[in-house]
Subunit: 425 residues, 2 copies
């Protein structure tokens, strides 16, 4: 049982009671898994689960059978609405678990309401108007980092990108720099799975909205002598051999937060993110793009309410099964990890993959949540526990790399979900 | 100049004036091209161009600068609305130029109003509930042929499938049987093009709604000893070498009216339709199907008017450029034709492709309409002229094969758009 006695951050509460009060925004797949994982821990006093859909929020809160979980309705497009909930429930930490369109109002609402903030995806990018596949425009997280001084001045922490990827991958980067490498050439996040979904020709195991956003935006790369730059989608295809029986999967460059986060705190020559989409998924995304069905700009179409404007990407999502409901039909494992190359502490060349694998059968049996959302949700729970007990602390807008990796990895293992290391040469 | 003197069908009008009065339903790409072609001929007295969108109808009617063309608004889902227009404008022939969802109300409205009827696509099929890729369910045109006796009893003609395909291809079948072959093995419609559209990754030159309907329905085949049966979509891929510089294109079986029409009037052992979709288009259609985006069943999605129900296929169409607007950016030729194999009149084996090619550059320069819609629209104009001058006549529900092919092919040539014959062995 952690207490606040060790912490400097809430000096007014120097009593031995749990004081963390969390506002969980979003009761979708990841939000629901967050509740199931957090319910087994006692580092917080309350979780207020809120969602645009009040019934969904209530269902997620009630599902864990724990009186510390209550629910509320929220419009996540409104920073004022988020701030009002923070004040109403004396929230100390806002946990953002909705899709990245809503990052900025939730992030701003947390600060306005007087709470710390965590998310698992950062504010969205906007491509360069003239050279969209060469130069960066507005980068992932730029809007959040621009507010860094405001957060620091308020003595508040925004811990951004603390899901599994970004999140655990960033913790691995810090761990590799501190404990495994004397010099790092590349920090290469590599994500892959061998998941299949029974009865579906095509059923993504994660939000298609976010997947399209990630995969069709120009992928970003960082190099020490060039800074951030972007390429065409699906660039630099490579087959990566994932551990634990997953095997080889075709990976391509994808825009992802790690590339924006890692170089800010960890010294390296290059940072990349490659997603093991597989050939079929890549073809689907290319086709959606070719037909303009990836667009969020609305098109005019007939409906039961006459001519309306809808976002094609929303329609694609509406045609596919809800990933949160697919758990019982999924088979296989998902792997998140970081491939680090460079010079080891012994001065020899080193190529190491730090990874975390979740078997869907295990996460379904143990938590009732499919492996991809479960693997995303466990990391912010671990981080919140480290913040609650004062092991991690800070102010400003910080990535996971800004904190000591060891206690995180130890607590993750203590949660029953160990990580692995594989030497690649 | 044709007159009614030679005609038996309207004996009450035995005076030397043109009496054909056409209700053109649909002012889209094909409807507009129909107007441009018909405006050069004098076999009719009036064309009432109607559309759900009154502005579009008015625009199509005014574009030809011919006082014989007027416009009206119509709801093509209502047979009563069609019948009312027939009576109001003393229509003799209803020309259906909208997508095949609206065949039945227009077809029924024409008969109810007391007019003859022509279309370029037949009533839709419904797949077999248990064996959708083996047995036929409701076939293309079944609903129309079921009304054959009513039309015959009323002394009215419904000439179905008189575009280019079906239409000209069916005329070729009759011509081959009458003049080129003593015995026919296969009547194989083959459609292909080398069209490209500048500035677009993907821009179908024909209604995507209809293309999806055709290509993702189980393709139908007829064999003398088996009758009609269906296969999986995209079956029996074959590379067909199209004439006039188009060259080889990958063709696959597609559900099409010719297979339902030809065996009713022309003796053969097998009837097929293969569409030269090309590999890229086939991949796009397979992906749309895999994601459920080909569906017409509505899905629930957010819009500017709140939650609404929209048809995913309508959204796909709304994301793509309007094919009728692509003419100036298109390059290349489109080819419609019939590959006939069997025994020639001389008793020798014969393999002949009868075809009609339109160069987009020519149709744009000459008529201001892109080649695919122009090639579709010219055939019903020719047919209407043959009906107006009494060369073609009949009652009941009839396909183009039921009429003598020679005057049709002669008049098509006289319109400035000749056809070709190529021996394949």
């Amino acid at each position: 049982m952690e207490t606040v006695a060790e912490r400097a951050r809430y000096p007014e509460f120097r009593i031995r009671v749990p004081v963390m009060r969390i506002l969980l925004v979003g009761a979708g797949g990841v939000g629901s898994a967050f509740c199931a994982i957090a319910a087994r821990r006692d580092f917080f006093e309350q979780v207020v689960v809120c969602d645009y859909d009040a019934d969904r929020a209530r269902h997620a809160a009630e599902a864990v059978g724990d009186a510390r979980f209550v629910s509320a309705q929220v419009d996540a497009t409104s920073a004022d609405a988020v701030a009002a909930l923070v004040r109403e429930h004396a929230i100390t930490h806002v946990m953002n678990a909705v899709d990245p369109r809503f990052v900025m109002p939730i992030f701003n609402g947390a600060l306005a309401g007087g709470a710390d903030y965590l998310d698992m995806a950062m504010s969205l990018s906007h491509r360069h108007p003239e050279q969209p596949y060469e130069l960066t425009g507005v980068k992932l997280g730029d809007e959040q980092f621009a507010a860094g001084e405001d957060w620091a001045a308020a003595g508040r922490l925004a811990l951004v990108g603390i899901g599994v990827e970004p999140g655990l991958s960033d913790v691995f980067a810090r761990y590799a720099a501190d404990h495994l490498f004397s010099d790092i050439d590349e920090l290469g996040t590599r994500d892959g799975s061998n998941l299949t979904v029974e009865g579906y020709d095509f059923a993504p195991s994660f939000s298609i909205w976010t997947t399209i956003e990630e995969c069709l935006n120009p992928p970003v790369i960082w190099e020490a002598d060039r800074g951030w730059f972007v390429t065409e989608p699906f660039s630099e295809p490579e087959v990566f051999d994932f551990p634990d029986g997953i095997g080889p999967v075709e990976c391509v460059n994808v825009e992802h937060e790690e590339v924006l986060l890692m170089p800010r705190w960890v010294k390296c020559k290059r940072a990349t993110f490659k997603y093991g989409l597989g050939t079929e998924f890549i073809d689907v995304l290319k086709t959606l793009h070719k037909l303009g069905l990836d667009r969020t700009e609305k098109v005019r179409v007939g409906s039961d309410k006459g001519q309306v404007e809808v976002s094609p990407r929303d329609v694609v999502a509406a045609c596919l099964p809800n990933p949160a409901t697919l758990g019982p039909k999924m088979r296989g494992k998902t792997c998140a990890g970081l491939w680090v190359t460079g010079t080891g502490k012994d001065g020899e060349p080193r190529s190491t993959y730090l990874y975390h694998v979740v078997d869907n059968e295990w996460s379904m049996a143990e938590y009732g949540h499919q492996c991809v959302v479960w693997q995303t949700a466990i990391n912010p729970v671990v981080a919140l526990e480290l913040l609650a007990n004062g092991t991690w602390s800070g102010t400003g807008v910080l990535g996971p790399e800004a904190f000591d990796a060891v206690p995180f990895l130890e607590l993750l293992t203590a949660y029953g979900s160990p990580w692995g290391v594989k030497e690649l040469n």
